[in-house]
């Protein structure tokens, strides 16, 4: 039997490390069935972490969820006695299991299935076959043509044709070229790339090697954010293993193709996810975007032709080479081929990583895979694309997920952040949150972004405080359009999107803040007061116990009361109340 603990960052955060240690101790003390305790990356079901998968001797997978340290004893006992029925109370429900069964996993194909620290496990799933295939029988153009056939677009946000970029970089007349991976995943709420690196680092290494061969680069660099220490560790191991097996190095598979690979840890600036700023940062300069054109394919790292894709894009590449571009293109829509990974978060029942073929609707992802809104509350909107994206309202839930259709809503596909909001989320506050992020992360180079985002933020600050003025919305719109047009890079050009979509779909909500000094969602602290509905309160005292300022008092089994002078409007009471007895006005 094999006991596999999900040890992505999400699993570890939920306590997988303690479960692992305990199991190690128990199995070192007694292991009659000769069971193996090992790890895997995140399988995407973050909402069930820590997860322990047990493969029985027949190779069948049994999945157990929300495992606590104390459960290790039961697991040990069940494994030792070869009776997994002892663990039935921990077994994943059929409903939760459907989270995975409704997905099509290409980029995430190995995540949660193999040990990311073991190249053998990667090879066992067909790893490095694609690399061998191209080096033994495909020209650079053949590779690019295959990628072209697949229709793969860059998964980092802009959605630019991968084959087009590769072709441009290949065509650039220079002996020295670079292939770069953008692993500076910075959108709040996005963790697709982290999961891939932590769960299947060799897929990235192999994908990059294929790309490097295609464009003619002999050095590959992964720019990964320093906030991903586990990803860096696993990637370092993968590079080491691949070098040892001579998948990396000189004359790979006996061909003329040689390539080295290294990691560069970023220093935490969001804008370094913008490809030209990333290049500046790689060169040791302040992370500020360069003017395009020239594009990196002509003049990139050290002004040499360079190709930059993100992690998910590269992770798809070995699969496409192995299975053929047509197989990839068979999935998705006319406009958008293949699959896309989303990080489903927010007020959702089943949050985690979801990979689906393009063309599914938002409703399918949120309701069928994600299980709908937590607490069965009313769905309000979903935020796509993080600070560069926008919110899509309930009326557009049946929007198909592809680059073009999402773009028409005012949101963007982005890198895959998908934050679900219910009626208690203030959309003005949401726009303010993202703008606060971009204003802080603006590199300060161009005027429109440096000062424009600041001014927009100031107006939104005013509005959420109930100090908005007539004409603020119009001024914001005007400023947003000017910033979109005038900003230097993608960060500034897309920074107004959250504001514009809020104005487009939730104008009334914004107007209520300005004209009536009212927050309809009951979230803007300066505009609300908390009270308890005496008819609904059963006097359970839960809210009083969760109140950080002891503002809630009362007798058990009779309605409680909130002292508004002590109340800091943190919202804890509202969150914990099971009877909807907390009123926010």
């Amino acid at each position: 039997m094999k006991i596999v603990i999900g040890e992505g960052s999400c699993g570890l955060a939920a306590g997988a490390g303690k479960v692992h240690s305990r199991l190690d101790v128990l199995f070192s003390e007694s292991n009659p069935a000769n069971a193996e305790v090992t790890i895997t990356g995140c399988n995407g079901m973050c909402f069930l972490e820590p997860i322990v998968d047990i493969y029985d001797d027949g190779g069948e997978l049994h999945r157990f969820v929300h495992i606590k340290e104390k459960d290790a004893e039961v697991i040990h006992d069940a494994v030792c006695s070869n009776d997994l029925s002892k663990l039935d109370s921990l077994r994943i429900s059929d409903e939760d299991a459907s989270f995975l069964s409704q997905q099509t996993r290409i980029a995430l194909r190995n995540c949660g299935n193999i040990n990311p620290m073991s190249i053998d496990e990667y090879i066992a799933t067909g790893g490095y076959v694609a690399l061998e295939k191209i080096l033994k029988g495909m020209s650079q153009d053949d590779v690019i043509d295959e990628i072209d056939k697949s229709g793969l677009k860059g998964r980092g946000g802009a959605g630019f044709s991968t084959a087009f970029k590769w072709r441009a970089a290949k065509a650039a007349d220079d002996a020295e070229k670079y292939l770069i991976c953008n692993a500076d995943e910075g959108d709040p709420g996005a963790f697709m790339d982290r999961a891939i690196i932590e769960g299947d680092p060799h897929a990235l290494v192999e994908g990059m090697l294929i790309g490097a061969y295609a464009i003619g680069a002999s050095e590959a660099i992964i720019y990964v954010r320093a906030e991903y220490p586990l990803a860096i560790k696993r990637l370092e191991n993968a590079i080491k293993e691949a070098t040892e097996r001579e998948y990396l190095g000189k004359n790979i598979f006996g061909s003329n193709f040689s390539c080295s690979m290294r990691i560069k840890a970023g220093a935490g600036a969001f804008v370094c996810g913008e490809e030209t700023a990333l290049i500046e940062s790689l060169e040791g300069k302040r992370g500020m975007p360069r003017l395009k054109p020239p594009f990196p394919a002509q003049s990139g790292f050290w002004f040499k032709p360079s190709n930059i894709n993100n992690v998910e894009t590269y992770a798809n590449v070995p699969w496409i080479i192995a299975n053929g571009g047509n197989a990839f293109a068979a999935m998705g829509t006319d406009d958008s081929k293949g699959t896309k990974v989303f990080a489903l978060t927010g007020k959702i029942k089943r949050g985690g990583l979801v990979e689906i073929p393009m063309g599914k609707t938002l409703r399918e992802v949120i309701y069928d895979i994600g299980g709908g809104i937590r607490g069965d509350k009313e769905f309000k909107a979903v935020q796509l694309g993080g600070p560069s994206g926008g919110c899509v309202p309930a009326s557009l839930l049946d929007t198909k997920i592809d680059y073009k259709t999402l773009g028409q809503t005012g949101a963007i596909m982005g890198s895959g952040g998908m934050v679900v909001m219910d009626k208690t989320t203030c959309m003005v506050g949401m726009a303010r949150f993202f703008l606060d992020f971009t204003a802080k992360e603006s590199c300060g180079k161009c005027v429109h972004c440096r000062i424009g985002t600041k001014r927009m933020l100031e107006v939104l600050d005013r509005i959420v405080k109930g100090e908005g003025k007539d004409g603020d919305i119009e001024m914001l719109e005007d400023l947003c359009i000017a910033v979109k047009d005038g900003a230097l890079c993608g960060l500034g050009q897309t920074a107004p999107n959250p504001v514009l979509t809020t104005i487009r779909y939730f104008r009334e909500e914004m107007e209520a803040h300005i004209a009536e000094k009212r927050c309809p969602a009951g979230e803007c602290v300066d505009l609300i007061t908390y009270s308890i509905d005496k008819d609904k309160c059963i006097g359970c005292s839960l809210c009083a116990r969760k109140c950080p300022t002891e503002a809630i008092t009362g007798e058990i089994k009779s309605p409680f009361e909130i002292d508004v002078d002590k109340c800091t409007k943190c919202g804890n009471c509202r969150t914990v109340c099971k009877y909807e007895a907390i009123l926010v006005k």
Partner: protein, 675 residues
């Protein structure tokens, strides 16, 4: 192979690889830039060079975009203008400084006081006078009589006292008048257009000069024997010697202004005739009618409007006054009347004013000097009756007043104390409570309810298409001379536009201004203002001799050296302010916070003011790419980004060559050489 494309309809030929900016500039299309320099790599930060090319979804930065054959590029689309204007507005919303000093901004005519004061400091008196003439003529006269709002605004007051700007003006003008190299007005090429100006006071004379500068033929009609208007007939000789005024009017006459005196409208010449004969007419007849007090006894012998009293002196008369004279009112005319009465031999001269000294509209110095000359101020009194015997005035009944609530003007209103009155014996009463216009003879021109000429505030046009008005006669009524001059300058601008067939409207220039606090000036060494030499009060009252001798040269230069030079040193070269006015910016619409940062000293010789910095990066890029140094660079992120030494702990000398190139390339006044 050359690339052919059009920009704003103009055909442009670009070299292979040449940018839109470079090729368009060559073709004469101006594209604004702040961060561009041909000596450094393209940067693309400012975003003010954006243009739109048909079929290209995004706006292009002209500094980097390479045109393609057949491109149709526009710089005047709504998108382009919005993006550019917004960039300037955003920059200005975070820009703290004084484009111009408060002296210039508060001068109604917008005289560049800081400039001429500093020219005087440097001994360049002719340049100083030219600086004044750039705005208006008559500097020696106005320098003597102006209540100088510039000095009220002068920040030197926060150190000790404001600069004596007006006296310095008179000093420089006197100096040049007395020299062989008198100031000569440069007139424009003959336009073939003729303008008539009715009224030869400060407004009429100023407009005449401006219109001559535009190249129009100008004739001034005036009912008085000589030109000068109120400067001649309202201001006593002891304040403005008429020889000075004559000399300055002569300069105007030399500029080709035809001056016709003793011409009374409606009698000697008909207004309609003038309107028909001339291409444009400016009515600048002033406000010459004294406002009556409407109290019993006003018609008694010995009671006269203050302005009429002064006018008599202007005509060379020496009216006889009795021993006791009362002047009613608290303005400058009242001061002129009471001090004139003293000089004519009156023993007791009262100023009857219904409020207190604090509320007096007259200039402080006038009040002080009147007091020195023995004038008795009866504050909080209001005449309610003038007594007389045999038709001649003998006394006045005064109502005692107290101050009540502030009125619309912010001054506390006087309120009668019931039953409290006082009688005084007087031989003459001069009423100086205000002057109004008399538009008799100005036929067909629509008037306001006050009897002034109704004219548009931005075009100075009346209801008759080619008739304009300026000065005391317009809407708001009488004010100070420099305000009449202000209107004349604007009206002349509008008349010129009208004659050239352009949009007539006057457009105010946008400036960046800032607030200051006294703390900012705490470290300044005190250097008190120069005392104006002149006769003692006892000597003064014996005749109409000038009350001031004028500054000596030494004094003038010392006084001028006190100037704090508030206005930005880079105003004339600043691209930001140039474009701000080009794009009619309204940065106030954003409101929002501004960065406030201390001045950065670079190697003790260069000063960087982050509050004026637009972060174009030219300074540090020039340092790096042209000089090969890395002394300065960007620090912080987002809105907080500033220029900073790259290695603050290392001695500047190790990195900075003090070449000053960073200052030279700065498009605003953020960089300054201290050497």
């Amino acid at each position: 192979m050359a690339i052919k494309y059009t920009i704003d309809g103009i055909e442009v030929i670009a070299e292979q690889g040449e940018t839109i900016l470079s090729s368009a500039t060559r073709a004469g299309v101006e594209i604004p830039t702040l961060c561009f320099s041909d000596k450094t790599a393209i940067y693309g930060a400012c975003g003010v060079c954006v243009v739109e090319a048909e079929g290209v979804p995004k706006l292009l930065r002209a500094c980097s975009a390479i045109p393609q054959d057949g491109y149709v590029v526009r710089t005047d689309t709504e998108r382009v203008l919005r993006a550019r204007k917004t960039a300037f507005e955003l920059l200005l919303s975070d820009h703290t400084g004084d484009c111009r000093g408060p002296c210039k901004l508060k001068c109604p005519a917008g005289t560049d006081c800081q400039k001429y004061v500093n020219e005087i400091k440097d001994g360049k008196y002719y340049d100083a006078v030219a600086t004044i003439y750039d705005v208006f003529p008559l500097p020696a006269s106005i320098g003597r009589v102006c209540p100088h709002p510039c000095e009220d605004a002068c920040r030197r007051e926060l150190v000790e006292e404001p600069i004596s700007i007006a006296f310095l003006k008179a000093f420089a003008a006197d100096k040049v008048l007395a020299s062989d190299n008198k100031y000569k007005i440069t007139t424009g090429a003959d336009s073939g257009k003729r303008v008539a100006i009715i009224g030869g006071g400060p407004a009429g004379l100023t407009a005449a000069v401006k219109l001559r500068e535009y190249g129009h033929a100008v004739t001034i009609f005036d009912q008085q024997p000589k030109m000068g208007g109120m400067l001649r007939y309202g201001i006593p000789q002891y304040r403005l010697p008429k020889e000075i005024l004559d000399a300055e009017i002569a300069i105007i006459e030399e500029a080709g202004v035809v001056m016709k005196n003793n011409v009374k409208l409606g009698k000697d010449i008909q207004f309609n005739e003038i309107v028909k004969t001339y291409d444009a007419v400016l009515v600048a007849i002033g406000a010459w009618t004294s406002v009556p007090m409407s109290v019993p006894g006003e018609d008694l012998d010995g009671v006269l409007g203050g302005i009429y009293f002064l006018e008599k002196l202007g005509h060379g008369e020496r009216p006889v006054v009795g021993e006791k004279v009362a002047v009613c009112g608290g303005g400058n005319t009242a001061m002129d009347a009471c001090r004139t009465a003293v000089r004519l031999g009156a023993k007791e001269v009262y100023v009857v004013y219904r409020r207190t000294r604090n509320e007096m509209p007259a200039a402080d110095i006038e009040i002080e000097e009147a007091e020195e000359e023995g004038v008795i101020f009866k504050f909080l009194t209001n005449p309610i009756e003038i007594y007389g015997e045999n038709g001649k005035v003998t006394g006045m009944k005064l109502q005692k007043m107290e101050l009540g609530e502030p009125d619309e003007s912010g001054r506390r209103s006087p309120v009668a104390i019931p039953g409290a009155t006082e009688d005084i014996k007087v031989d003459n009463v001069f009423m100086a409570i205000g002057q109004v216009a008399n538009c008799e003879g100005v036929e067909g021109v629509e008037l306001t309810r006050k009897g002034t000429i109704l004219c548009d505030e931005m075009t100075f046009r009346t209801n008759i298409p080619n008739v304009f008005a300026a000065g005391d006669v317009t809407n708001w009524g009488a004010g100070i001379a420099i305000e009449a001059i202000e209107e004349a300058i604007k009206a002349a601008f509008c008349i010129n536009n009208f004659l050239e067939g352009d949009e007539v409207r006057y457009k105010a220039t946008y400036f960046v201004e800032r607030e200051v606090t006294p703390e900012e000036f705490e470290d300044r060494e005190k250097q008190h203002r120069e005392k104006m030499p002149g006769p003692t009060p006892e000597e003064r009252i014996k005749s109409f001799m000038p009350v001031y001798d004028g500054f000596t040269e030494e004094q003038a230069r010392a006084e001028a050296s006190r100037c704090l030079e508030c206005g930005c040193h880079d105003y004339y070269d600043c691209k930001l302010i140039k474009y701000a006015n080009w794009f009619d910016v309204e940065p106030a619409r954003f409101g929002g916070s501004k960065r406030e940062r201390p001045l950065l000293e670079i190697a003790d010789v260069i000063e960087h003011n982050a509050d004026k910095c637009v972060l174009c990066g030219l300074c540090y890029r020039t340092c790096e790419q042209v000089e090969g140094k890395t002394f300065i660079g960007l620090y912080n992120r987002g809105f907080e980004t500033v220029i900073n030494p790259m290695f603050p702990r290392i001695e500047a000398a190790a990195y900075c060559a003090t070449c000053g190139k960073c200052v030279d390339v700065c498009p605003t006044g953020a960089m300054r050489k201290k050497f």
